[in-house]
Symmetry: C2
Subunit: 412 residues, 2 copies
Amino acid sequence: MKRYFDLISPGDFCSFFREFSPLDTESVSLENGLSRVSALDIEAPSPLPPFSRSTMDGFAVRARDTFGCSDSEPALLELAGEIAMGESGRQITLEPGQAVRIWTGGSLPRTSDSVVMVEYTRLLDDTTIEVFRPVAPGENVTQAGEDFAKGQIVLERGRMLRPQDLGVLAGLGITELSVFRRPVVSIISTGDELVEPDQQPEAGRIRDINSITLSALVRETGGIPVRSGIVKDDFTAILSACRQALDKSDMVLLSGGSSVGSRDYTLDVFKKIDGSRLLAHGVALRPGKPTILAAMENRAIYGLPGHAASSMVIFYLLVRPLLRHYMGLETDTGLHRVQAITSQPIPSSAGRQDYIRIRLEWQVPGRPPLAFPVYGKSGLLSPLVRSDGLLVIDRDSEGLDSGSLADVLLFP
Amino acid sequence: MKRYFDLISPGDFCSFFREFSPLDTESVSLENGLSRVSALDIEAPSPLPPFSRSTMDGFAVRARDTFGCSDSEPALLELAGEIAMGESGRQITLEPGQAVRIWTGGSLPRTSDSVVMVEYTRLLDDTTIEVFRPVAPGENVTQAGEDFAKGQIVLERGRMLRPQDLGVLAGLGITELSVFRRPVVSIISTGDELVEPDQQPEAGRIRDINSITLSALVRETGGIPVRSGIVKDDFTAILSACRQALDKSDMVLLSGGSSVGSRDYTLDVFKKIDGSRLLAHGVALRPGKPTILAAMENRAIYGLPGHAASSMVIFYLLVRPLLRHYMGLETDTGLHRVQAITSQPIPSSAGRQDYIRIRLEWQVPGRPPLAFPVYGKSGLLSPLVRSDGLLVIDRDSEGLDSGSLADVLLFP
């Protein structure tokens, strides 16, 4: 049995992801762009906003005509008309001493450089207004191109698109997006004891849990899960299932076959696949030590631990980063990292990274939350159901005292 | 113009959500259960695991038969057979001094209470093994029902289902789930200056940004967005669009019509809708002061600020919690809250809550990130594109010094 000190670190494991390339790209409409990843640096084809706009309801003026005015000595300006919403202000040229009525979002006239809020004005008659407060040039105005100048990169390649990003693209008229294809991930469960979740297991059998969990994890990451079903613990059957899955997937997750048991065919199956290269076998973290990674062309094949909790931790730490790499994102877990205070001492062994399931409790605003470890055997799901994330204990640490500040990776 | 001190707090605004009820429920399959919200307390119909299982490859034994054994004085046990994966161990009754071969996940024989790892045994001949380490009762065994006992509540009503939760349901054979319906949200953009994102705007016009952003925000929350298109700034047109939208939605978002301008028909439209009740008009936070909320039966109608950034902040703080309430979740933003250290002084005015767009930079592991404010006019999108979340400054605070620890709501 390999000891932790003989194994590669999670960091070294992830360094193999360089052997894989991001997937090819496809086109999606703006409406379907949420959480997709841009495959291009996107340039602004025109300035945003396209013209200088008022940010207030009021009067477009030349700022210098308001200088020095006050409640007791208002500036008197000639009202030269109104710019209706949707009309261009550029057809009007403000002469000195003139103002035009304008609305929030309206297009500024030529030679006007600012807007006086309606609250600081009074209409004296149909053609004259009083202004009680001076404005500075540019005040209450968004300049043409102030958000994005023409030709500026608005979103970089590898950006996962958020609502505000889609808003920018809408504003620029970019309604078809080039994005990385979503990875297709086949999930194979192996084990003579497994039955489908909708079946009643006979004595000694159990329903397949991992393929449902892994499917959801793939979907949560942005991939497309394909459940390839349950395969018996038989070399030929597993090899055949793997080959079929590789034909139609970017990644194959083989669940249940990477323990030390004599029925562990995973490694032999991986070696038997034409063109496959074994990249890693075993990693110095807990839980999840016996993880296997192989490559076939640009496709990845994982042997995951059969225990539900181990399999899930390994997914977040060692599978999710590669899925993100395939999608053109940064090759990390993409999980939010927060600081928390340990509620009790948490022991660990040097020589491996420990990922402790924890539940967070927020005490007072402005203070990090308390992290309570949720212990339980790695085959159990209930500790995961009660957990908010994973507390990280470094390879060199022998544990944390109560009250220590520690990093926590939050479940999405 | 209302001052902030005259306005209700965001907390008071959200207290109106009590007037609305969670939506009705529907049935989905386990495969489609991710991020849906359980409408029932779910009980375990049978224990999980259904039988006591080995967590190791090895030999099932009676623990007392191994007591006192060691490398120099191994216990000798009679090998009484093997329990194949998928076979019930209950057909075998271990006699004192007997052991049976068992695999990870295998079903324990009657009267066996523990498993010796294969690493601590040696096969002497076909029917005898040596055991070099004693095991305690229960060691290397998951007891029947240890994860969940029969009749135990495994997931509570109002739980948003995560991958591990779906795993539990798979294990229990629960493949059809009762979940709250996803809220349908109609989005209406008003403004004579607006054109669709795929149109080339004439001078003075601009593409509709907010409805794309709001659609994506609704989708991100778990709702179903329906873009009802652009409506002219005309009382009758807006009223008609609102009525049509209410007929087919749980919520209507009216974007662009809640500024102080004379073309602001939103309030009058809301009052004109049969059976509508105005709940709130104006809220003491920045940005987003002029937000309006009305109710019609169990449906909500919002007047949102027209500025893109304000509209987005208001969505996260005052719309998302009601969508979550509709979906049976806790009535909060559901955003991750982290602590960050201010990179510079951040001024604020007492009397309103301030939400400052910030970018986070992680410095050293185990230390909170630095928060850099991303300033910009509320009509601009570029500050939002560069932001990771919103830093919260309380109503009573006049700002934060550089180096202060503050709460940040992370964008999803």
